[in-house]
């Protein structure tokens, strides 16, 4: 069953406004947090074991702990540049509960003692941008932002920044580059953004869902939070289900929830007469799972890592047997080719190369060795670049080719898709 912790009041339209939000206990947690010591909040988040919901799954409390104590101004940046194909949870959160995000950011900012924060929203999200901008204005007017918030002596300013269409800006250092008004190209690590980030000052970048989850942790305490989820992946998470299911959408379930149940129970299963073929469990950059693996998988960081896939941003793309894997890989490769920032050579050239190889297979001009070449090129793109985009392109390529090799080989030999054949026969 769905467990609604974050999304509890999302079905109420008034939750979007400050008044409505306050009606359901909004900004009460902030009052509580401002009464605590910043270190206590960090400790609570650490104890709750909250892991980043943006894709990498890095423990949030640990990330906050990396901030150096050198007296430099600190920045908090909310990563709302949701670009991973299949993911649409942040958009919903910003549209339905902008104040939840602002409250989470305020608590986090207080915990890391930051005086200025930014919400970086992807350029295409015009509607959420307007909503968040309005919500911030409301919060300023109500005294939740600005100088001396709720009389605690804590000052904080918040601003929204709108991107302009680049998937790579979802990577934290690229996001910071973009925020500085540069091209959104990732920066070299080390130094990590917690040490040298926005304008070379210590900066924490967190996903929308992560920051919203901070509210529930501080509200109920880490023990209550740990009630859901598994030992290593505690809490609930919003999964964006899309693809060939009857009821696609966002579903909040505890981590460790079986993938099978998500697809068949919550999402209403597949279209009648269709068989499950594959599932991409964490956005297009996660390695694909076969139907058989999907039956076994549970939605937590560990299980999926064991299956050599990843939870990523929680975008579950369900693929039924009417889809040709060559076709889908071509779409995915085109996406990474289009979105590579062009900085590191293996990614810049590799994504283009993969796109061309898969494209030529799709056109029926492929050679048998091309299938192996896809694997080889992907292998040498992985872990060779500044950011993880080249891995993100390589992992689906490898997994598609390895897990559906016969389909690729058929395509190369016959110059047409096996799937359409099967469907026609049926």
């Amino acid at each position: 069953m769905e467990v609604k912790v974050l999304t509890k009041h999302y079905d109420k339209p008034e939750y979007r406004s400050l008044e409505g939000y306050k009606k359901y206990g909004g900004y009460e947690v902030l009052k509580k947090a401002l009464g605590m010591k910043p270190e206590e909040i960090v400790a609570q988040v650490k104890e709750a074991g909250l892991r980043g919901r943006g894709g990498a799954g890095f423990p949030t409390g640990v990330k906050w702990g990396f901030l150096p104590n050198n007296g430099e101004p600190r920045y908090l940046v909310c990563n709302a540049d949701e670009g991973e194909p299949g993911t649409f949870k942040d958009r919903m959160m910003m549209e339905k509960a902008p104040h939840q995000l602002i409250e989470g950011m305020l608590i986090s900012a207080y915990a890391i003692q930051s005086k200025k924060s930014y919400i970086y929203i992807r350029g295409e999200y015009m509607e959420p941008y307007r909503i968040v901008e309005k919500a911030i204005q409301e919060a300023y007017d109500a005294g939740f932002l600005g100088k001396n918030i709720l009389g605690s002596g804590f000052d904080h300013d918040m601003d929204v920044y709108r991107g302009a269409g680049a998937y790579i800006c979802g990577e934290e250092t690229a996001l910071l580059s973009s925020l500085e008004g540069k091209k959104g190209q990732p920066k070299l690590k080390p130094p990590f953004p917690a040490v040298e980030g926005y304008l070379r000052k210590p900066t924490i970048v967190n996903n929308v869902e992560t920051l919203a989850a901070v509210v529930t942790i501080v509200k109920d305490g880490p023990k209550e939070y740990r009630k859901y989820g598994t030992e290593k992946s505690p809490g609930t998470k919003i999964f964006s289900v899309s693809g060939n299911v009857l009821k696609p959408g966002n579903y909040e379930v505890p981590l460790g929830y079986p993938l099978k149940d998500l697809i068949y129970n919550l999402c209403g299963g597949l279209k009648p007469g269709r068989q499950l073929k594959a599932v991409i469990p964490g956005g297009s950059s996660a390695p694909v799972l076969t139907a058989e693996e999907a039956e076994r998988a549970t939605l937590d960081y560990e299980c999926l890592a064991e299956m050599k896939s990843m939870l990523g941003s929680g975008a579950v793309i369900v693929i039924d047997d009417s889809n040709c894997m060559v076709d889908l890989l071509k779409v995915i490769m085109h996406f990474y080719h289009h979105e590579s920032c062009g900085q590191c050579t293996p990614c810049r050239e590799g994504t283009g190369w993969l796109d061309k190889i898969v494209g030529s297979i799709y056109k029926g001009e492929g050679r048998l060795q091309d299938i192996q070449l896809v694997e080889q090129v992907s292998k040498h793109m992985m872990g060779r670049t500044i950011c993880a985009l080249s891995d993100a392109a390589a992992m689906p390529a490898i997994s598609f080719v390895q897990k559906f090799r016969s389909e690729f080989e058929f395509y190369v030999r016959e110059g047409r898709s096996k799937v359409k054949e099967v469907i026609a026969n049926a």
Binding site: A166, K183, L188, P190, H337, H338, E339, S340, C341, G342, Q343, C344, T345, P346, R348, E349, G350, T351, G352, W353, K356, I357, G359, S360, R367, Q369, D370, L373, H380, G383, R384, T385, I386
Partner: protein, 514 residues
């Protein structure tokens, strides 16, 4: 100091040294394109991968600082495989037009391919088409297909010159280096981008297509273009000099030099040189060898009135030459009519903030020191006065090597031609005005900095030695040789080897293989 082991070689490096620098210190080879010691770290070519003991993932050497006790290698199979693939990624969209590329022979891609590559390419898809032969102004031509986007040139214009002409536009494998709307890249340091470009994407218009680089020899020297005295490398062959590039010197020029300095080779080549000594006056010149002319001066010298002789010197010669010249003057003339010819009084103290100085003489400081040593304290006004009053009949002029930077040259020579009865003109440059003087004139060809040994003192007071490399004009003398011969002494003129014969493939000579 930190200790680390690089390919088994133990080295000690300073705190904060990156691994790639440690590789250079240890004298180990490492492939890299985007890293340049004079620029910030970009870490984008991903070729300088190394394996650090205890770390499963390969790291890039340019952004990883050395830690004590690190054991680093780039000889393992894993690294070699990675570099080979890294190179392949660089090459898949490279147009491979080496036959018409000026960089061929000194190209980073070619070098690394010989080192790590040597495979049959697997790329069977069409390459990305970009812009070729983009005109970036009067100095540089850009070829974006050849570009590997190492961003060295972009960082150069952003960090060194701070002129921000270049940028990388678009993204992915459509990225291109360029200037906005093809605006020219005209700053005075622009040609450094050509030097640091590891491939043939940026080529110099001046050097373009004139020689293949394997036909060129290279030797180090000192730039005589201004009082900074940048350390340079001269590229030349039997057909003459072709280009100049900077050589790293922390104290003087760092990694760079200005574009004006790169032109000084033109004043060494035969086209701009005084090839033969001449005696006579307008319309009636007698050509002779340099030594013979100097001896003729010596012969004639006895009949001149010593009190009516004066000496004009420019800051273009070496310390040794000034010494010999002043010795000669002291012994054979004895008066103190020695004048310092300053070419551009108004801009003499200028400085562009990087390297180029308004004082366009390599050795003004040395000359001033020598003048002081010999107590020659006359001012230029004094010379003008004496000339006007007719008190000076004979003028010995140690003229400029590079007449371009003496704008008042023509006017002065014309004036002297009227005022004097004898002119002894010592210079390496061909000067039209001297050929048209009316008084009895000896023109003695001098050697340029390329053909003689000498010490130059730059604006900081730093003494730098420049060595002779080869001879372009066989009959030319150095100023000291001329001084000795004019004094009537027997003196053996020494010469560097003359450049003649067909040009050779110097790569075979240098490396032992093609």
């Amino acid at each position: 100091m930190l200790k680390c082991k690089i390919n088994g070689v133990e080295v000690e490096v300073k705190e904060g040294t990156t691994i790639i620098e440690a590789f250079k210190i240890a004298g180990q080879k490492i492939a890299h394109y985007c890293w340049h010691p004079g620029l910030s770290v970009a870490g984008v070519c991903r070729l300088c991968m190394v394996e650090i003991k205890g770390q499963p993932r390969l790291q890039i050497a340019c952004n990883t600082p050395v830690q004590d006790g690190m054991e680093i290698t780039n000889q393992s199979e894993q690294v070699k495989e990675t570099v080979r693939w890294g190179l392949d990624f660089h090459l898949i969209n490279h147009p491979l037009d080496c036959p018409i590329c000026d960089q061929a022979g000194e190209c980073g891609l070619q070098d690394q391919y010989m080192e790590f590559g040597l495979y049959t390419p697997e790329m069977a898809e069409p390459k990305v088409k970009k812009h070729k032969v983009v005109d970036l102004g009067s100095k540089i031509v850009l070829d974006t297909e050849r570009c590997i986007l190492c961003s060295r040139c972009v960082r150069f214009t952003a960090e060194v010159t701070k002129t921000y002409e270049l940028g990388i536009f678009n993204r992915g494998d459509r990225s291109e280096i360029g200037t906005f709307e093809n605006k020219p890249l005209e700053n005075n340091y622009a040609l450094n981008t050509v030097d640091i470009c590891p491939v043939g994407a940026l080529t110099s218009k001046d050097f373009r297509f004139r020689q293949r680089v394997w036909y060129l020899q290279e030797r180090e020297s000192i730039c005589t273009g201004c009082s900074t005295g940048c350390n340079i490398k001269i590229y030349f062959n039997e057909e003459g000099l072709f280009r100049i590039r900077p050589v790293y010197n922390e104290k003087v020029n760092g990694y760079w030099m200005c574009d004006e300095g790169r032109n000084i080779y033109k004043f060494v080549n035969k086209e701009n040189r005084l090839l033969k000594a001449k005696k006579g006056r307008k319309g009636e010149w007698l050509e002779m060898e340099g030594g013979a002319a100097a001896k003729d001066v010596a012969h004639h010298f006895k009949s001149l009135d010593k009190e009516r002789i004066a000496l004009v010197v420019t800051g273009q010669f070496s310390n040794e030459e000034y010494e010999a010249l002043f010795q000669f003057y002291k012994k054979n003339v004895g008066n103190d009519f020695v004048y310092h010819w300053i070419n551009n009084k108004e801009s003499f103290e200028d400085f562009d903030g990087l390297l180029l100085r308004g004082d366009r003489n390599p050795n003004t400081k040395g000359l001033l020191q020598k003048l002081e040593d010999y107590r020659y304290e006359q001012t230029w006004a004094h010379l003008e006065e004496n000339l006007k009053a007719g008190k000076i009949e004979t003028l010995i002029v140690a003229g400029p090597e590079n007449p371009l930077w003496f704008p008042d040259l023509k006017e002065k020579v014309q004036q002297w031609g009227i005022q004097l009865s004898h002119l002894i003109w010592l210079s390496s440059a061909k000067v039209q005005a001297v050929d048209e003087v009316e008084c009895l004139t000896w023109q003695i060809p001098l050697k340029t900095f390329f053909e003689k040994d000498g010490t130059y003192v730059n604006y900081q007071g730093l003494e730098q030695k420049s060595h002779r490399i080869a001879t372009i004009v066989p009959g030319a003398l150095s100023l000291s040789e001329a001084a000795h011969l004019m004094a009537g002494e027997e003196y053996k003129v020494d010469m560097a080897p003359i450049l003649k014969g067909p040009k050779k493939n110097y790569y075979v000579h240098r490396r032992g293989y093609l």
